[in-house]
Point group: C2
């Protein structure tokens, strides 16, 4: 198994903390755990290079535009994974994933990212774009276009043509927004799928684990919370326990560009956990159940993208359509057919036990 820490300067080893929100102390303290998530696939040409050749300093400057910093990084043969002050970044040969929470300005990076791909890698055209997020609990705290999905659409349209934009879930409760673009002349088809669980309202005893009061560091937290059991043996884990609270984890599966990433906002007043993976598991439905068993949220949203060539994910989507998740009541279920993918969106609420 190849595992190398990238040798350029980082914040690793220093005391990590999430960037302060406007009210980071006192009764008004609030942190928006829900992430903005951007995934871009580039069209590989005979003369193009890997996105991984983009220099580290360019990457840090790119992330500066979003107002977040690299805390640590790990790599395997296929992908460079970064834990950020707010969430994560994954760079593989032709896929760039940036996930940022809080009041970060993710969409401010898009133009520069496309320039970097062109300048350093000769990656001149985009195959697929996915920009998604849960509705924010406090949209008025967001900066720039992130205050509303309509403004985010307009900003994305500045960079991409013919994107489609959807709202999944009832407009009257938690919902999930997606902007997506598929190049009409895409010569390549990616065998790919992504499972995301966006969980809210965690029990206090689960929240407590992700604090400096209970755990000394990230690795202790990973073990105590049972997160090490959520990934296959041999996974390279890179985790950070923030001071005073909060947890981020990237996992790289051996010899592949498969990753797991988990981010915990443990304040009980606005607790939030995201779990995301593109693991090649036959039954992502079982994986989802394991994650729920770990975090025990009162509510969660589930999204599962499956490309047409991804039979395991298709089977899991079918499961979701036909079966319930034990202990939960499904309050929304939607399918959407995209150009080369199917997406399932579901929302669940914990059943109330009446004894």
């Amino acid at each position: 198994m190849s595992s190398s820490s990238i040798s350029l300067p980082s914040l690793e080893g220093s005391v990590a903390s999430r960037s302060p929100s406007p009210s980071s102390t006192g009764p008004d303290h609030y942190f928006e755990g829900a992430e903005k998530l951007l995934e871009i696939w580039f069209h590989v040409e005979p003369t193009s290079k890997s996105l991984r050749v983009i220099p580290y300093n360019e990457l840090t400057e790119l992330l500066d535009l979003a107002h977040c910093q690299i805390i640590s990084s790990r790599s395997n043969e296929k992908v460079d994974a970064y834990v950020l002050s707010e969430s994560s970044c994954f760079v593989s040969d032709s896929r760039f994933i940036l996930k940022t929470c809080g009041t970060t300005r993710l969409l401010d990076t898009v133009g520069r990212l496309l320039d970097l791909a062109r300048e350093y890698c000769g990656l001149n055209s985009v195959l697929n774009v996915y920009y998604s997020r849960k509705n924010f609990a406090r949209p008025e705290l967001q900066i720039g276009p992130h205050g509303s999905f309509e403004h985010e659409i307009a900003r994305l349209d500045d960079h991409f043509e013919d994107g489609a934009a959807y709202c999944m879930g009832s407009l009257k409760q938690d919902r999930w927004y997606l902007y997506t673009l598929h190049s009409p002349v895409a010569p390549q088809r990616n065998v790919d799928h992504t499972l995301e669980l966006l969980m809210t309202d965690l029990p206090e005893e689960v929240c407590a684990l992700f604090t400096k009061e209970v755990c000394a560091d990230g690795p202790e937290c990973t073990k105590l919370a049972g997160i090490d059991k959520l990934v296959p043996p041999g996974t390279i884990i890179d985790e950070t326990l923030f001071d005073p609270v909060g947890y981020s984890m990237n996992g790289l599966l051996p010899h592949s560009d498969h990753y797991v990433t988990i981010h915990v906002t443990p304040e009980p007043e606005f607790s939030y956990v995201s779990f995301e993976t593109n693991q090649d598991l036959w039954d992502l439905y079982k994986q989802a159940n394991k994650v729920l068993d770990c975090f025990k949220p009162k509510k969660f949203q589930l999204t599962l993208f499956a490309s047409d060539e991804s039979p395991g994910a298709k089977a899991s989507q079918q499961h979701l359509w036909e079966r319930d998740i034990p202990g939960y009541r499904r309050t929304d279920l939607q399918f959407i057919r995209l150009a080369h993918d199917t997406l399932v969106y579901a929302q669940f609420k914990q059943k109330v036990n009446i004894d």
Copy 2:
């Protein structure tokens, strides 16, 4: 076959016209063909009566609230069908359907309708509510809550608790809004399905048929346009050709509460046709193709509700998922699982022939 015209006063025989829009003549002339559609199912109790006992004068006063009038009516054993100055109304024992176009104020009727059902029929509780519409081309011309779906949601929430509200289709193109409510303790399950086709951008030669210039009256129009071929033999057809343009048709299938309703806004600048049916056809997919062959729209939206007990509609939904519609490119496809129904929403655009 029982067919009786309701004997109370109506506008039947007078020259029918759609209510004038603020700019009904001249270059600014515009008419919003896209209908607001409300369908309410009431919970039948041992002592309750049919909705059809509501007196005619109460019905006309109810429709006054929406700013539309009854033009003509037909009945069979199961249902009373009304052609309105703007679209249609169907009243059966426990189901009330009101569909109104232009700048009508459909949601102003809801409170009074619930009162009438309670007072005259002892129908005290609602089983299901569906309120839906296409996005308006000119929302700024709409009155009251109809100017935005958010305001419509708020108005519906004044009358119903725990409704869910969805936007289907890309926010960047034509889309379709749905507010729906399912009583959590519904003791009855309806075997039901509804197919709707909302068609825009019709060829000029199709538009021309639905004008007083080409046709003398509704029946001629029905025949010339081939609409009589879209319904089974024995269907009671009630149609109106408006002056100078526009067409509305209700069809009642023999001995059942199955209906077909078609409304045409034929002005080429903003042409629009809606087709709606709850016909008990095994293959609604074939029915959709016949309708498209008749109106040849450049774009259309299709919605198909199927209750869990409606195998024909389920099979048609599966068809839509797996197959294309000849001559059209699918630009959106979404499924949504409701409490006792599945809904498929799709949008299609005509393929361009390159010779």
